[in-house]
Symmetry: C2
Subunit: 336 residues, 2 copies
């Protein structure tokens, strides 16, 4: 049954490395927490100096920085560490694109716990303990919204450029707004846009704060509650549904999408952002691997293919969809 | 400070993937536990059939196998999974080189716990809780000896070929014998070799069992206890010290090595097997990354360079050393 890969002798290292992958996760989190990248960016470049500034043992800092170099997050020459292009842009707190905070959510003990017994999750086909991250008002969503904001910021601005209609009034519903950036970017771009942000009450405090920081708070309205129960309002030109459908199964999503469609103008559009694997479900890697993220942390979520999403939209009464890449994700615009 | 890598636009995916690395670890462990590779090797190749045989949900099995394909441990074509060269050799239980059991140790809850707070380990310069894996008779070492045996088997046979002296009586001390394979391979190769295996009493039960299985039990003797305290005996032609020095600091190792040298014949040789990084400490990757493994699980261990090891040997009175690769590790033969 074996497929021989050219130029690759059987070697247990790939297996050994994968099994040790959790050390890669927690070591990178430690380097972020200890502000190693920010310190190196500021010219503190030897293990001894970094240890002094970060108040760690010199040995621990040397081993951590060497590991970061092995893993491609630092370079090392003659004992002097330097940032890589990625770590300079994304892991130095002085960089506007800093996203080190995502480590807080991705390695939150609550989140890690969902993946420690994957055997049980595979047997069951979903999260093993309780509803996982899907409990109402789960505090993890405030953490999520705070720490993952930099990642959604990358896609949100590009999405706003694509879906905005310049000069036109737009009534926008942002479902599961989280940090709120998708709606806020539209409000920043279009002074006639009114944003209605829906999420758990505790999460909306954060998105409202982000709206204030962006100076769009007068056109920013909040709808606390569950997208499945609460009155969504009506007459929307755009309904944003970023990173939401992957938490649920087809039937649940169709139920939601029917409610969503009822709130949309016939001339309106539904805007979905998702990790969308190809039909083979193993490419592109980051989108396809997102299935496992959902298996571990939701009861019935998944990373859906375009065909599966289109079937959901159609089953809820929607028209045709157009898809385009949005970073590692996919932006889907669907007609009423 | 940034080093631009040619052809590589700043991309947060490398960071995102590393932070999710723990999912890679636990998913591979799940696939091993559910005997996915063995089933595929036996011709069970669709997610539905695999789920039936492994008694899991079909969805969970599909997501797990897709993830294994994304990570390079399976291939997938038209919904049919197949083994890669590596998984056929190392992860199919029917293969003589099967080493899936290493997942039990590498992802043992006790072991994982050592790496969850790497920030604290870096601050301290070693294991955060207690002595980590270094507690006397820690049950983890029996797990270790059982589950890691296939990995040491790979190096042990090659080492035996190199250090054996055909036709000559050899009195061999195997320090921290673990599964016992280093000594046993010499005994299998040389009918005049007498092996003295030293380890914790609970671990020696396993190495003695392996000696019985190899039919060398009459020439296999055990010395229960700590290599630092127990009477080592004397007049050895070979003293094996595989994967031991990395648990301790220079001073502790020199103390041990002096005891070891006193037990050796002047014509004898010390045989060390270690993960040995180059002087840059970031290459080769597997050997260099072993430092982090030791930072998390020992009070003062490390992956030592050849220069550092040579200094230990010299400080203990030993003569010159010769080093050669032994898989991803290094075999070092040192004169009295």
């Amino acid at each position: 049954m074996a497929t021989q890969t050219a130029g690759h002798e059987p070697n247990p290292l790939l297996i050994y490395n994968a099994l040790n992958g959790f050390q890669r996760s927690t070591a990178l989190k430690a380097a972020i927490e200890l502000e190693v990248f920010t310190l190196i960016g500021a010219g503190v470049t030897s293990a001894a100096d970094l240890a002094r500034r970060a108040e760690t043992s010199e040995k621990g800092m040397r081993i951590l920085c060497d590991f970061m170099a092995i893993e491609g997050f630092l370079t090392k020459q003659n004992g002097i560490y330097a940032l890589t292009a990625d770590s300079a842009v994304f892991l130095d707190q002085k960089s506007p694109a800093y996203l080190g905070s995502i480590a807080e959510f991705l390695l939150h003990p609550t989140h890690i716990a969902n993946y420690l017994d994957m055997t049980a999750a595979v047997r069951k086909g979903g999260v093993v303990h309780g509803q996982g991250n899907m409990d109402p008002e789960a505090p993890v969503w405030v953490e999520f919204a705070k720490s993952m904001a930099p990642l959604s910021a990358m896609g949100a601005a590009a999405m706003a450029q694509i879906v905005n209609v310049a000069g036109q009034p737009l009534k926008v519903l942002d479902i599961a707004a989280g940090p709120g950036l998708y709606g806020i970017e539209i409000a920043k771009l279009n002074p006639k846009a009114e944003i209605y942000a829906l999420d758990w009450r505790n999460v909306l405090e954060l998105s409202a704060e982000h709206a204030r920081q962006a100076g769009v708070e007068k056109r920013y309205h909040t709808i606390p509650g569950s997208a499945f129960d609460v009155d969504l309002g009506s007459g929307y030109d755009l309904i944003l549904l970023p990173n939401f459908l992957h938490h649920f199964d087809h039937a649940t999503n169709v139920k939601l999408l029917k409610r969503v469609r009822a709130a949309l103008q016939p001339s309106g559009r539904l805007v979905t952002v998702e990790f969308v694997p190809n039909d083979d479900r193993i490419s592109p890697p980051a989108a396809a691997a997102f299935s496992l993220m959902m298996l571990g942390s939701t009861e019935s979520g998944d990373a859906y293919t375009l065909k599966e999403l289109d079937r959901m939209f159609r089953d809820a009464g929607f028209g045709s969809s157009d898809a385009q890449p949005l970073g590692p994700q996919t932006l889907i615009i669907t007609k009423y």
